[in-house]
Symmetry: C2
Subunit: 397 residues, 2 copies
């Protein structure tokens, strides 16, 4: 077999291995509390389902345009314009089979081999993988524990910019940390982007998964709209992870290129589910609000228990459905010194299945503390209570 | 704007421009006979639709495994094993959001920059585009008019193989020509593949769109199963073009790599429609057979009228839903000397919208005759009669 050389640079989501271990443990009759994967155990709103089913009956089973159903591009442009305070039209929107495809297509459209690309670490592992797969050099920047949340290490970002730095990935409202920039931090970042002539992938997958306050988009800052491509997804807001529908939103010249990549890669996204998405954006919002209410209750339950555990410190991020507690004290207490032993001990002693810092990139120089990531999108409040209660007993005894 | 250099090598399907012209002509109140695009105007079988809708209600709205729903991989492996006479298991199958994604992923998995790749011309334009986009050298081989159908130019293939030739695209039951290899031709081709250590993308999108006889797969030849990746699609057999569902089927080592690309590109294909596909493969076949009966009637109607036109010669391929008549005589009769004038004259004088040879690659050296491509998948028999009747009057007068 003669696999292409580039495949040696292709990464993956190692969290899937955690799923497999959890499934194997459950298969032996053990109870598992699934905090490891960001899937959702909440049904898609009924009005979205009905609109998609109606579209099938209306014959929307043939191809649609490569860039997506025009009506969906229009209502999404209007929705994102209003929520971000940016003026987009349908020409700025190209529909994708999920939010994730925007990552690879952004790099294919804008990155040349050898270009350096800044990306967050800890962060979603696909950024690093796609940068290196397509011949770029992935340059990580860290996140630091602030007063009330994680923050971008802006000094580190500036330090790591070289003349070869061309692109940056910004995942504000971040997976896994929940980090959120202040406007002052956005402004400093925008200065750097202009000074060094960068283009930015704004992964806004969690923009609408927000419990307090209002989300802001980096693309709305002066001069940034022309330099940012927003990764948009229907997955979280409408509990549609398995439907695979999202979009890339940005300057027309880049969006046209991504639409041309669509022609080559998959022709178009599924036609009839785009009518479900139109209903999601324009129809009754009661069930979308209900999804947020469910998630908020889960967040508060999980954060409260985690912070009650000796040696665990957990922020309460305003957005995302992830928690990233510092468990350094809890590790010491149990005499644990590495991530793998800790994760397996938690699973096998309590049934609590989590990801760790290592599922979000290699630890950076100087990192000393230990972190786990819990997703509460796929586990109900009573199970959160029970599972984390067991974890508390295990850690404290 | 700083678009990546590789985008200059990205091609497209120029047939979409023909669609736009036809739509503009129709918008002025003119009748258009749409023979230009390979979409289908036949509903998806009701049992497939119902199974997908049931899956939504059963909560199949979250992620599924990256390689696809295990049950679908199993039944597809069984179906393809039986129809091709090859032994595949689910480990040989990775589900894709359409047939098309298999093209790009095959090259990403097996092609290194500078590798030469043989591909058919005339042929589906995405092969050449994806080869060059990902840094390969696209080397076209022609098709020649045989006695009863088009045939691969096997001598040309052998002539064009160099030490740098690593891969080949074979689209037996071909778009646009309907070409089909004999077993003897398959065997000669297999010899070349072994002699020159090639791997082959077998685009079998039309394997099940067959009216007489039985389709054969090149992957079934001795030594070829290990060297072939089959592009499979649900689009045509079950009139599911807009659902976007297909698969790559081949050696486990390659399929594992493509599944890893899935993790990076789109996580997984839409979850619930895979249950529709399971029903399509294992449930009642009445409607799938009906689709074939409809298409056969259309083929015969179209071929009969085309062959009745002075200066037009059209084969009657046993498979695909395309016709590729030689219209050299008809061009001369009307004093037409170029494709664009001819295509526009047909559209504006008769409403018949077609693609031409040029939508399937640049003409090869020595090509003298003129061809058009008609798709009969998206136009009913009465419209075929009426439209081609008008074309006959136009050409003969």
């Amino acid at each position: 077999m003669r696999i292409a050389e580039r495949i040696s640079r292709l990464g993956t989501e190692t969290a899937f291995a955690v799923s497999a271990e959890a499934a194997a443990f459950a298969a032996k009759g053990n109870k598992v509390y699934p905090f490891h994967l960001g899937d959702m155990n909440i049904p898609t709103p009924a009005n979205v389902v009905e609109a998609a089913e109606k579209a099938i009956r209306d014959g929307k089973t043939g191809y649609c345009p490569n860039a997506g159903v025009p009506q969906l591009r229009e209502v999404l442009a209007a929705d994102v314009s209003a929520s971000r305070g940016v003026e987009y039209t349908m020409e700025n929107v190209v529909i994708q089979p999920g939010g994730k495809p925007t990552i690879g297509k952004f790099f294919l459209a804008l990155m040349n081999p050898g270009d350096e690309v800044l990306y967050p670490n800890p962060g979603y592992p696909i950024y690093e993988s796609q940068i290196e797969f397509h011949g770029g050099k992935a340059v990580p920047y860290g996140l630091i524990e602030g007063e009330k949340n994680f923050e971008l290490d802006l000094d580190a970002i500036e330090d790591r910019i070289t003349p070869r730095t061309k692109l940056m990935v910004l995942n504000d409202l971040q997976n896994p940390t929940g980090a959120e920039c202040t406007q002052a931090q956005f402004e400093k970042l925008a200065e750097l982007v202009l000074k060094h002539d960068l283009y930015v992938l704004c992964d806004e997958a969690y923009f609408d998964i927000r419990y307090e306050g209002k989300s802001s988009s980096f693309a709305a800052l002066a001069g940034m709209t022309e330099r940012c491509v927003i990764l948009y997804t229907f997955s979280k807001k409408f509990a549609m992870t398995g439907w695979r529908l999202g979009a890339a939103i940005g300057p027309k010249e880049i969006i046209d290129v991504i639409a041309k990549i669509n022609v080559n890669d998959e022709s178009c996204s599924n036609h009839f589910i785009q009518y479900g998405a139109i209903e999601g954006l324009t129809g009754d919002q009661a069930q979308a609000k209900q999804i947020l209410a469910i998630l908020k209750e889960r967040r508060d339950t999980a954060v409260d228990i985690l912070n009650s555990i000796e040696g665990v410190n957990c922020f309460r991020p305003n957005a995302t459905f992830y928690l990233y507690p510092n468990i350094t004290g809890a590790m010491k207490k149990k005499g644990l010194t590495d991530y793998d032993s800790m994760r397996k001990a938690y699973l096998h002693k309590t049934g609590v299945s989590v990801c760790t810092r290592l599922h979000f990139g290699r630890a950076l120089k100087g990192e000393k503390d230990f972190y786990i990531r819990l997703a509460y999108s796929g586990i109900d409040t009573p199970e959160i209570n029970e599972g984390l209660g067991r974890l508390k007993v295990f850690i404290e005894n």
